[in-house]
Symmetry: C2
């Protein structure tokens, strides 16, 4: 269990072992790198979806980004999370009032103009297949999120998020899953469509039930993975979409 507390001292999250989807090296990366500009972001940094000459594409390399929206008078919403390997472009995002692409942790992304990207897809079948797979996966995740928000109770939503993050970022040590959460408390509340007060109650309840612990050094520990999975009706679905090799 290595330390990685990016909340306090933001550090690039190195959580994905090299075999994790999207970060795997290969000839597809080489093609991308010719046209891509690597960008390193700090926490809370906003990335423009339209840049000077035209639309751009971002490909996440490490860290966690998200789409947020904040209609006037309404609460902020965190609509979608982007993990390493994900593809982000303007047209994927509905133009809600106040939408922004924000880096939720220190992250590394590749930026490239759509023209280069489209050309790459048209000429490189491997690249095309990879992109199609990835976009489909992102769509499935968006739909799953809608299902979670719309159909589950507060506790179940939170359990689902913990399972998701555990699968994405977790290190297994002695039966427990350990990671540190790149999301602030309000981020989580906004992502789950709960209010921070309610979320606080839920976390207290989880801690009381032994489903969650906060270790010093900012780590989150899930001591009872199976019990946690039992706390959400969608554990199997989450596993399919978020497991390494997913």
């Amino acid at each position: 269990m290595t330390t990685l507390d990016n909340t306090l001292r933001p550090v690039v999250s190195q959580h994905q072992p090299s075999q994790r989807a999207g970060a795997r090296p290969g000839e597809t990366e080489a093609g991308l790198l010719e046209h891509a500009t690597p960008v390193r972001t700090r926490r809370r940094q906003r990335l423009a979806l339209d840049v000077a000459p035209g639309e751009v594409i971002y490909i996440v390399r490490s860290g966690l980004l998200g789409i947020e929206a904040a209609a006037a008078g309404k609460h902020r919403q965190l609509l979608e999370l982007f993990y390493p390997g994900d593809i982000i472009r303007r047209t994927l995002v509905p133009d809600l009032p106040g939408v922004t692409l924000t880096s939720l942790s220190v992250a590394e992304v590749w930026r490239l103009p759509v023209r280069s990207y489209d050309h790459l897809l048209a000429t490189n079948p491997e690249q095309l297949a990879q992109s199609q797979r990835r976009l489909a996966e992102q769509h499935a995740r968006a739909t799953l999120h809608a299902s979670i928000i719309g159909g589950l109770s507060g506790d179940e939503r939170f359990a689902s998020l913990l399972v998701e993050l555990g699968l994405r970022l977790g290190q297994v040590g002695r039966g427990a899953v350990v990671f540190d959460v790149p999301l602030s408390r309000t981020d989580i509340a906004d992502y789950l469509s709960l209010n921070p007060d309610t979320l606080s109650r839920i976390t207290s309840r989880f801690k009381a039930h032994g489903l969650l612990q906060h270790a010093r050094s900012g780590h989150t520990v899930l001591p009872a993975w199976d019990a946690l999975c039992a706390a959400t009706p969608l554990a199997a679905t989450l596993l399919a979409l978020h497991a390494p090799r997913g």
Copy 2:
């Protein structure tokens, strides 16, 4: 109060004029048709996402389809609507308990094997561009739906749906927008994550406020379009995603 009985006498929705996105003819269609099998569905018919040799792709030509899920003990959910031009494949859908692709009205779809489709994309740049655009739009709609479910009140959700359907299916006549809803009442409730009782109250309220009427012949009338748009904070966003030519 006339009964809005599309349940009883299902009618093919003919509402999309030819200039509507996705239904426009052209050389891209010709390429598809070589490999596609046209399928005509009846209401409530379920379509398999995996067929004998492998995965298949559906392209909606007319009518309305949807993804539904029904976890044991949980309510049914209508997760996503598919309009003419939309592309549907297995990998776009999270494998929730009880997911099915269902035809919500009489509809016409083209079915083709992924292999043909992928080959088409790899060899036909116009087809590729079209597909990318469409998938991005579908993703944006999925995200928007999550935003609606997660952030709006019951009334606002319903108003949003009426605006969406009005833009998609509506005919403007003397200031009012008229169409018939291809969704049953329970479909709507499941789509908006409301329960049918609550939805019934909301519709009554809308009728009382003059935002909604049920004409004989099963038509729904929106007599006050502007007032309806004012009833949802997301009217502008919906317009951008659902307007003809969108």
